[in-house]
Every structure is written in C-alpha cells, then in structure tokens.
Amino acid sequence: MNILIVEDNKELAAEVFDFLSNTGYVCKIVHNCSDALEDVNSNDYDAMLLDLGLPDGDGFEVLKAVRKTKSKMAVIVITARGELDDRINGLHLGADDYLTKPFALTELSARLFAVIRRMHGFTLNDLLVHGFSLQLQDYKVSYSDIPINLTKKEFDIFQYLVLNKNRVITRLQLTEHIWGDILEVNSDSNFIDVHVRNLRKKLDKHTDIGWFETVRNVGYRINE
C-alpha cells in the first residue's frame, strides 16, 4: 500500500519512511503544504500521515482539500501541539486518527493497520476471506491454521485484493499501490501476472479459488 508522509522535519520524515518501507509500504515524503496538495491531487494513496505545522501553511488545509475529493484515503494527523482543540478539529475535518509527537513507530504502524482495515470495512486485524486468514502485522497467511509461505509481493497483492474485495483492481492500480509511483511510462505489467500466477498456485493447493477472478485484459478481483 502506498502512503504519503507530509512532514517538514526531514529527519523524522526519513525515519518514518525507513520504518514504513521496511514494513512493506510504498512511501513518499513531501515537506510542505503545496507539494502535499499537488501530490494528493494526482496520485491515489491508501493513507497519509499529516503533520499539522508545515512551513507554508496549516496541515488542516491539506486535510480539507483531500476530504473535498472522493478519495477514501486514510489520514492520520500528527501533531506536536497535542492540544485538545487540534485533535478534535482534525477528527471533525475527516482525519481517521491522530498521533502526538513524540510517538513510537510501532504505535504508528499499528494505527495505520487499524485505519486501513477499518477503511475497507474490516473489523479485525486478521483479514478473513474464504477460509484464508491474513495477519497484517507479521505478513502471514494461513488456511485453517496451516501457514502458507508467500513472498512479500505475493502477500501485498493478496492483501490489496482482499482489502478491496468485490472490486476489479487493474494491473495499473496494483503497480501504483504495491510498486509505488513508477515514472516509467507503459512499464510492461507482465511481472504482475507472474506474481499473481504464483500466488494463485499457492492458494489453490488448499482449496478451490474460483472467487479469485482474473478480469480479462484488465486485472483481478476477489469476490466474497
């Protein structure tokens, strides 16, 4: 999943970036309001970490702009102020959660998991689909308690399709959310098909996966 980090403190931003990248997110950092606005206008992010005190304006402005669009992006407001008004205001404007500086990176990732799954209508951190269970925190998939060994990319694809179940996800969307904002024009998406083929093979060993649908020429869909 891809995440936009809006944070003017470059060190903190880089720290969060490294941590979340290692956790498996595709991240991008911007340092000010205008870049953030520009970025959310043209890219589809799964989540945004938004610092409120930015050099060229208030983070609330970015939040307002995002919520004016139809984007379902999850927004976690990060504030150094920690004041009650800020937190309430943020939630009123459509933030999904907030964190007060300083925060533990593990708490950040836990909250991120939580807002993302809630956003997609899941109540538990373990995503359940047709007998498969995906544990978001530790990248594990199991079928009735038998662990399934997936590569990171396979897990990411499976997770993204499960989160967006009942929707056709195009190959382009998969590249954007799992490989990140590739600048390459018309990068051939064969490699996605390879991952999906391997994923399906591994899942197919356990049960019939007719619900894992390939939409011809377009992409994939997991039906429930």
Binding site: L37, N41, T170, I182, L183, E184, N186, D188, N217, V218
Partner: protein, 438 residues
Amino acid sequence: MAIFNALTRLLVILVLWLMLPILVENVVYSHINNGLLEKKKKFIDHLNQEEINDFIENSGDSTETYSQFSTLHSEFLVLSKVPVKPRQKETTFSNDYRVIEGEENEYRILQYHFTYEKEGYQLEIGSDLSEVNDLTFIIRLFIIIVLVIILLVTFLADTVYIEYLLKPFYNIIDTKIRRVNEPETFDHTPIKAKSSDFMELDLVLNQMMDRIGELFKKEKQFISNVSHELLTPIALLKNKLENLLQNDSLDDNAVDKIASSLKTLDMLKKIINNLLLISRIENNQYTTEEEIHFYEIITDMQEDLQDRIEDKQIEFLNIMKHDFSFKGNKTLIHILIYNLITNAIKYNTPKGKITITDGFSDKHYFISIADSGIGMDPSQIGKIFSRFTRINSDQDGQGLGLTIADSIANFHHIEIKVTSVISEGTTFTLLFPETAKN
C-alpha cells in the same frame, strides 16, 4: 588595468626614444646649417678678386686652395679653384670626415660653388660635429631617465588609484554575480561605491536580478499550476473509470475500452510527471545534501526489480568493489539508476546478462551498467538523450527515461558515457566529478 596602462606608456616611450635621434639631429643640423649659411653670406659679401687672389696666392701652392681654421679645429673654411661644371647645385650640405692638421673629425660641411670672373670656385665651410654628437647622447640619456621615472611613478599611482576606484566593481562582481546561483539567494544590500557609475551598475544589477527572480518564480508557479490543472482531471477521470469497471452489466467490449482508456490516462499522467520532473531538475528545485551509497542503492534496486529480471530470465551480476558515497539527491539518483537498469532489462534479450562494475579511472569514480541487449549504432546513441526518442517504434515507453537520466546526471555533475555494439549490448557509464569523496 594598471598594467595595461603602463604597457601603452612604455610603448609611447619606446617610440619616442627611437625617434629622438632623428628629431634631435634635425633640430641640431638645421641650427648648424643656418650658422654655416650666415658665415657663407658674410664671406661672399666681402669677397672680391683681390681677396680671392689673396686667399689663393697667399697659400702659394699649386692646388690653388685657401684654407683657414679655428684653433681648436671646431670650424674651418676652404676656398679652392675648380673647373666650371654646368648645372651644379650651388649650395649643398653633407656630413663628412676631414683631416685638419693631422686630426680627423666629423664635420657638417657646406659646399658652395660659384663663378667669379669666369673662374669656378668651391667654398667649403665646416663645423665640428663631435660636440653635437656628445650633446645628443646626453640629451637621449637624460630623456630616457626622465621617462623611466615618469613611467614608474605613473604606474604606481595608477595601480593604487585604479585599485581604489575599482574596489566596488570587484565587490559587485563577487557578491552580486559570481556567488549567485539562484535569484532567491541574491543579496540586495547596495554596495558602497565612491563613484556614481558603480552605484548605477549595482542598482541595475539589482533590478535585473529582481526581474529574473520574478521570472523564476513565475516559471515555478507555472509548473505547479500545470501539474495541478492537468493532473487533477486525470486523477478524476481515472477514479470514474475505475468505478465504472465495477459495473457487472458491462460487456467485454466495454471493459476492454475502459481498460485501454485507463492505460492511456496512466501514460498521460506519467508523461506529465516526467516532464515536470525534468523542468524541476533544470530549475534547481532539488537539494543535494543527502549522503548516497551506491552499493546499497543498487542492491536494493536489484531486489525491487528481481521479478522483472526473473521474468526475462536475465542474469544480473553486481560486481561492485567499492562502497562509494556521494552527496546528492537520493530520490533523483534513485530515478537515475532505476531508469538505466530498467532500460538494461527492457532492451535485453531473454536469458541475457546485466553486469554492474565500478572502479576508478583517473581519480574519477565510475559505475558501469552493461547489458547484452540489442545494442545501438552510433547515430542512435547520439539521439537517445533527447526527448521522446525511441530506438524502435515498437518499444514500450515514451522515450523520456534517458532524458531524465541525463538531466539528473547533469544536475549532479555526473557524466554519462555510452558505448554500444549492435546486437552485442550497450554500456552506460556514470563518471563522477573529482570533488566526490570515496
């Protein structure tokens, strides 16, 4: 400046010094000539036959010559009888040597031919030149000393004065022009100058910089406007089409069309993003303060691209030996290496090879990315860095990858060298500036 002045002065002095003998001689000779003419006039005026006879007979020798000279041989007068020659010039001046009483001296000599009672006579009046020559030499010496002194004094004065006068000028060049890379960092404080010219120059420079700064700002504004105005509708359309795809009542034909529209939109978005990236790089909108470790970047990238490498069954060999670090922009360097490696994958043959090597050549660190792909001929190599060129029209992509690579390399003062052999492969070499440290 002062040196130039001194040189021109030296030239003038040299010319003067060379012309001096001629000038002095002219003046001295005309002075002597006048004296000689006057003497001749006095002599001729008092002349009559008796006197001539007196002169000539008194001498009593067969040459019929009369001569008379001053005690120190500084002047002499000779009258002699010569045959009459028609069309002889009456008065001539010349320099010649004469021996008088066993002493040879150089004389300025006036020769005058005249006839008196049908007899031809030649009168010679001479004036000694040795004194004059001595005098000329002294004058030349004196003048040369004076001129050299003047030269030295004016040179010193010039140096000091020009230094003083031009101080604000160098100040302006240093603070207002040389140190300015971006209009935003321009220092507007006026520079103190004694002369109004430099204050004017300073003022005009400030105004010019303001205008350039304004244009810079406008361009940045334009870039950000374009990105906003173009990318927002694209994002909107993309969203709508993606939602449309969820509609189960669509037939295959409609789904195909939507899918291909989405692809076109994606292409459009990426082209815009790429062009924006190029103009941002060229506008110096990126900082270069991050420490970049190339070995790390390339191993990470190999991991990221593993699926694509495997998909084409390419053998990826990373035999870098150095952990070279470099100050630059991490995002940009990442894009640069990414573009080169994905190109190496894209234009490779199945089961081909990509080899990454590094080393030092002539103190410059280099990284080479070599593929065993289709290769290019020299005319193609010349074009690959310009916008929207592709080697084959049936290739994917829009031909911006290498343009971006080139912009990023330029931005970091990295040189990209390309060597290629058709159907053997292409090698891209990044040559780093000397300032980079190992």
